[in-house]
Amino acid sequence: MTEMNKNPKPLEEALRNALRREDAPEGFALKVLAHAQQQNAAQEARRTSWLSIFSQPPLRWAAVAAVTICLVVGSIYYRNIQRQRAEGEAAKQQLMLALRIAGTKLQLAKEKVNEINTSRPESQPQNRSPRSRS
């Protein structure tokens, strides 16, 4: 039996020794950096190829025109909405006024009726028909 076999510590030390870090192969970092630069270049190329659509004058003008049309249509739509809202508000105010006037008139009519009823309290029974008395 070896010392390493009897005791776990020497085995663990031997493992630490066997599994210690090694140097990466020569030029490893340079290779990685070169690949990373290629990765960057590829990403940049993808980005610029997408944006290069707008480098052509007709497409650039088309994009400007599309944006302008969108803005104009949007502002017209917004104005219409605002106008409809204002009209609705005015109609609501008119309706409220009409209801207030009608309410006042009804109140006046009710007062008149009450006034008439209270001014002729005794004449009412004489006017009643014989049928209603029976």
Partner: protein
């Protein structure tokens, strides 16, 4: 390799020098891959892929400790993926080569044999042993890197050490380490 802050004035790792990170951690990543795969070209290729992935995701990492943890985790998972994808031949524990003659402790052959024995362990226990004895990581840290319970890590370690001890007993009976 001691971790040191990349830039005192800029805590964001995104501003760190990628070159500096590669130079600092190349040995760690390459060694994990090499001890796992026991194949230098494969380990180099895998380590390169790990650093390229780091380059693409560096902006999402918050600190250098996070970078170190990330590198260990990605390297470990890529090692397993690489071995499964390439179907690298794994030497079974009993078929691991026997030494021709007893060796001395200072002999690099002993270290070589131990590397071969470690390489013959199953995937997960092998990674646990590599992270424990190469990186000197605690079982809790290994559990976090490999996303497994601490008890499983400890169990892998105990069983692996027992297997390795048995193998050493059978093959290097007279070796004194």
């Amino acid at each position: 390799m001691p971790a040191r802050p990349i830039a005192d004035s800029a805590p964001d790792i995104a501003s760190a020098d990628f070159t500096d990170l590669v130079r600092r951690y190349q040995s760690m990543v390459f060694s994990i891959a090499h001890h796992f795969l026991t194949d230098v070209p494969a380990a180099e290729e895998l380590a390169q892929d790990v650093f390229l992935q780091l380059h693409a995701t560096l902006s999402t990492l918050k600190s250098e400790e996070h970078v170190k943890f990330w590198l260990r985790k990605v390297t470990a998972h890529r090692c397993i993926d690489y071995q499964r994808r390439r179907k690298l031949p794994q030497v079974s524990f009993d078929e691991a080569p026997e030494p021709m003659s007893p060796s001395q402790s200072s002999d690099p052959l002993v270290a070589r044999r131990l590397q071969q024995f470690v390489a013959s362990l199953p995937e997960k226990p092998r990674l646990v042993v590599i992270l424990r004895y190469q990186e000197d990581m605690m079982p809790e840290d290994i559990a976090a890197v490999l996303a497994m319970p601490v008890a499983t890590v400890k169990s892998h370690l105990q069983r692996s050490l027992a297997l390795l001890r048995d193998k050493v007993t059978r093959t290097m009976g007279e070796v004194t380490i």
